[in-house]
Symmetry: C2
Subunit: 245 residues, 2 copies
C-alpha cells in the first residue's frame, strides 16, 4: 500500500501539542481530520517529533499509509484549503513501502530562539523567549560543546523514555543576530523536554549564575534537578528532520 | 505643565486600530487606561500615526500632558506591568512644553512586509502579506522612485483629509531578504490607507499586471480607482517617527 510523507509548518500557540488526544485541539488531530475529510477514509498518521503545547514547527514530517494512489498536487491544495492558517503543508511526496516519519528518521534538528534585549517584542512574542539579562554567548557555546556526543541525558529528560535516556547529540551551537540569539541543536532523537532543559541550563550559564565547566557534572548526575529551570515552550521550533535519503 | 513622550511597540492584530473609540479595544484606549490607573488621573494622549485595525507599530510615539513631574523609570515599569504582552512601552522621556506627538512630527516611516514564496509561513502570518506570485523587484523600485517627491496623492487616499491629499514622500525603496520583501517608505505625513494603496499598486507592477511607467499617470488621475486593489493591513508597521531633534 502506498506511503505518503507530508512536511508541515505550524504555529503551536493555539494547540495542545502535536500528538492526537481526545477532546483537545492538537496538530496531528487537525491533520488527520483534514485527511479524513478529503480522502473520506479514516487515516492514522505518524509524526517525527511530538512537540509540546506552544512549540512550533517549520519542518515537521508526518507519514500515513493510503489504500490507493493519490493525486498529490490536488490533495496538498485541498489540505491547505481546509487547514487553518496556523498550519501549512509545504510538501507532499510518496515514499518507499515501510517508510515511517518517526522510525525512519535518523536525526531531528530543533532551534531555540531567544530575544535578548531590554524590551519584549510584541510581534515576536509567540516564537521567542524574551531574556533581558545580558548573555555571554561564548560561555553558552562552551556548555553546548560539552553536550555534543553520546550521553545519558537523564538530567535533561522529563521522564525516562521506555528506551532509556541515552541520545547522541550531533550539533549544538548558539549564534547571534541581535537581538535574536538562536540555538541550533541536532540529535539522533530527543527525550521529552530535552531541548528546553538544555536551553534553561545554558541560559543560566550565559547569565553567569552557573559555569560552563559544570556541564559534564550535570550530565553525570543523571538527575533532573541538576539541570535547573526549563526554558518556556514558545522559543522552540522543530526545524528539520533527516532521513537516510 | 510637563509633557511626556512614550515610544510604543505593538502587535495590532487584536486591536481595532490605534485611535480611541468607545466600546472597542484600541491601542490608545489601552494606553490611556493604563496611564489613568497608574496616575489616578484622566489623561488624554496624542499619537503620531493613527494605525488601522491589524496594523502594527515598532516605534509609535504618544504624548500626554501631566499636572506634575513624574518618576519616569517607575511609570514605565508600571505601564509595562499593566499592559498586555501585545504592547510594550520601549521609552518614556520628558519633552519641552508644546511638544505634541502628532503635530511636532516632521516625518513618519512605515515598513510593509511581504512574504514572497510558494507557501504561507504560519509563524509570520500576522505581520506579513503572503504573495506567492514571483515579484519583479526592479520594476517595483522603478514605481517607488516615481512616488518620491511632493504630489497630490488623492489616488492613494481613502478619503481626502481635511488638509487635502498633498504629501511629500522622502524615501520609498523595496529590499529583499528572501522570502521577505520589504518596502521602507518615509513621508512628512500619510493620508488614510496611503501606504497600503501604494503597496497594492506596486505589487501589481511586480506581478507584471501593470507597468511601472503608469505610476505618474496613476498619481495624475487623482482618482482612487486608478491605484487598484489595496494591500492587507497585517504587513504594515509604523516603524519610526522623526522630530526636529
Amino acid at each position: 500500500m502506498p506511503v505518503y510523507r507530508l512536511e508541515v509548518s505550524y504555529d503551536g500557540t493555539g494547540f495542545h501539542g502535536f500528538a492526537r488526544q481526545p477532546e483537545v485541539r492538537t496538530v496531528q488531530g487537525e491533520i488527520e481530520a483534514a485527511l479524513n475529510r478529503v480522502l473520506k477514509l479514516s487515516v492514522e498518521s505518524t509524526g517525527a517529533g511530538r512537540t509540546d503545547t506552544g512549540v512550533h514547527a517549520v519542518g515537521q514530517v508526518v507519514s500515513f499509509v493510503a489504500v490507493e494512489e493519490l493525486d498529490l498536487v490536488r490533495l496538498q491544495r485541498s489540505l491547505n484549503g481546509i487547514l487553518h492558517p496556523e498550519m501549512v503543508v509545504t510538501s507532499l511526496t510518496s515514499e518507499e513501502p515501510g517508510f515511517d516519519a518517526r522510525f525512519s528518521a535518523v536525526w531531528r534538528e530543533y532551534r531555540y530562539q531567544i530575544l535578548n534585549g531590554p524590551h519584549a517584542d510584541p510581534l515576536r512574542r509567540t516564537f521567542t523567549w524574551h531574556v533581558s539579562d545580558s548573555l555571554d554567548l561564548d560561555a553558552m557555546n562552551e556548555a553546548a560543546e560539552q553536550l555534543i556526543g553520546e550521553h545519558d541525558f537523564a538530567s535533561f529528560c522529563r521522564a525516562p523514555a521506555s528506551g532509556g535516556s541515552v541520545r547522541r547529540v550531533l550539533e549544538a551551537r548558539w549564534t547571534a543576530d541581535r537581538p535574536l540569539v538562536v540555538l541550533r541543536v541536532r540529535a539522533n532523537a530527543f527525550c521529552h523536554q530535552m531541548v528546553r532543559s538544555m536551553v534553561g541550563f545554558m541560559v543560566e550559564v550565559g547569565r553567569g549564575r552557573r559555569r560552563a565547566e559544570e556541564t559534564a557534572a550535570v550530565i553525570a548526575a543523571a538527575d533532573r534537578s541538576a539541570a535547573g529551570p526549563m526554558a518556556p515552550p514558545q522559543g522552540l521550533i522543530l526545524w528539520e528532520v533527516g532521513y537516510g535519503d
